[in-house]
């Protein structure tokens, strides 16, 4: 059993995949707690879809090395745009986000559909390819992880206040729009960092599921944060090992990114089930 969890990672490409997945697990787990507190899952989803055309354009312009810069430009623009939309308060935010995310996504699909390798490219951008991660990708993810850590350490209390009681924060003189710009940018950067490994569609699960699982287990913010990071990392590791064992050992090809997501969802389901059972037993 232990062998299944450790042996695959002897191979260099698997070692790189593991490092990337563990970093993403920790990064998404931590930032996901803020997404949960602010109920920003839909906004995050909008960012992931908006990043998609950036990924495609970056790829068309300069191949693999263009993906992250392309995603970055789109993500930063999307974060700024969404912050501005929220600040005006006049428009229906949900509807506006929905229109924007589908529009951007359609642009991405049209661009990529003009390529010969349409299906393969589309799959890679949507669902990632963690097994072909290179060192440069890991450096990007590590940099975003460090940055996220600094933001959460340095501004954690202000972000908490904004999430809990925005009116009071404004009354105390905090600029809500500035705080939202910071958190939206952070979410956008997490999406950019995740694009290569898990793709633009699955990153939403990496952000939301560990934090939601942790919230089921505790009502204490410090505990939730620690559990979310732990669940994110363990899920990434187990998901990679499972997909490798199934593919190599049993000739059952499981996409690595999607397997990680399913392991995370399994954690969530188990915790939900466990709590429901405990409530039944108590009666």
């Amino acid at each position: 059993m232990i062998d299944v969890l450790v042996a695959p990672f002897d191979r260099p490409y698997m070692t790189r995949a593991l490092v990337e997945a563990l970093l993403l697990g920790a990064l998404c787990g931590a930032v996901g707690v803020y997404v949960l507190l602010r109920r920003l899952a839909f906004l995050t989803d909008a960012v992931t879809h908006t990043v998609f055309p950036g990924v495609v354009v970056g790829f068309l312009v300069s191949g693999r090395s263009g993906i992250v810069p392309g995603a970055l430009v789109c993500a930063v623009a999307a974060a700024a745009l969404f912050t501005a939309i929220a600040a005006t308060r006049r428009v229906n935010e949900d509807a506006t986000l929905a229109v924007l995310l589908t529009a951007f996504f359609a642009v991405g699909v049209i661009l990529i559909s003009r390529q010969h390798s349409y299906t393969a490219d589309l799959t890679a951008f949507l669902f990632g390819h963690v097994l072909t991660i290179d060192t440069a990708d890991i450096v990007v993810t590590a940099a975003v992880t460090v940055l996220a850590g600094l933001v959460l350490l340095g501004m954690g209390k202000e972000l908490l206040l904004r999430a809990f009681d925005p009116e009071w924060a404004r009354a105390a003189g905090y600029r809500i729009t500035a705080l939202d710009l910071v958190s939206n940018m952070l979410i956008a950067l997490v999406v950019v960092a995740s694009v290569q490994a898990v793709g633009t569609v699955l990153v939403i699960a990496m952000l939301v599921v560990p934090a939601a699982t942790a919230r089921l287990l505790s009502a204490r913010l410090g505990v939730i944060l620690a559990v979310a990071v732990f669940v994110g990392m363990v899920g990434a590791w187990l998901g990679l090992a499972t997909s490798y064992e199934a593919s190599v050992g049993h000739d059952l090809r499981l996409a690595a990114g999607a397997t990680i997501v399913l392991v995370l969802v399994a954690f969530y389901a188990l915790v939900t089930l466990g709590q429901a059972t405990r409530r039944l037993v108590r009666r």
Binding site: L160, A171, R215, S218
Partner: protein, 252 residues
Amino acid sequence: MSRPAAIVFDQASIAYGRVPALEQVHGTVRQGEIVALVGPNGAGKSTLIKALLGLVPVASGSITVLGRPPAQARRLVAYVPQADTLDPDFPISVAQVVLMGRYRRIGWLRPPGRADRDAAAEALAAVGLADRAADRFGTLSGGQRQRVLLARAIAAQPEALLLDEPFNGVDAVSQEALLATIKTLAAGGAAVVVSTHDLGLAQLTCDGICLLNRHQFGFGPPADVLTPDLLRAAYGGAALELGDRGLIVARS
């Protein structure tokens, strides 16, 4: 005898865009005074509190808070919102909520220190909830949550305190605790503005009354403002009667 003015309304009118919300508010709240904003629903009580916080602009006339325009006085002013506007499922402890009152003093990039935790604990003790510090905010009763929000305001050590309907749906024990704490703060020199539906409570506990309904009907000592004529004018015919001991009962 006359103490320094803390809040001065000078023919202040407030509008949302072009729609006037409140007109011609004129009067003074002195340091150590408790002034109640009273009037029917939609009279503009919350609007006036938002204007005092600099969250809605003054369209004409002026409001001065501690010698400054409202938006520049925010660090000296603490606000107590209605507890039921906050998400009871939010994973935050009572102690963490009270500590928020210290954030402006702590500043960016720094964690709360020992002095901040002590001040927060002291504020929580002042509202009688020291033993609930570790509990989740949402598990407290409505009245207790309101007391926690008052403790958060106290922790900021403000020179002016603004409370929006703090007694709504609050049990008797919590109402007593809120009142006692507010009086202690005023005795320490803070200017207090509190909006309330409860005319009897305002009459008994406040030094001044600002009677509103879209515009000001009276601003002064309770005996001068809470008269049948002014009340009838402000409440627009809603039945009012003088109860026992001269207490006013409003039915709306």
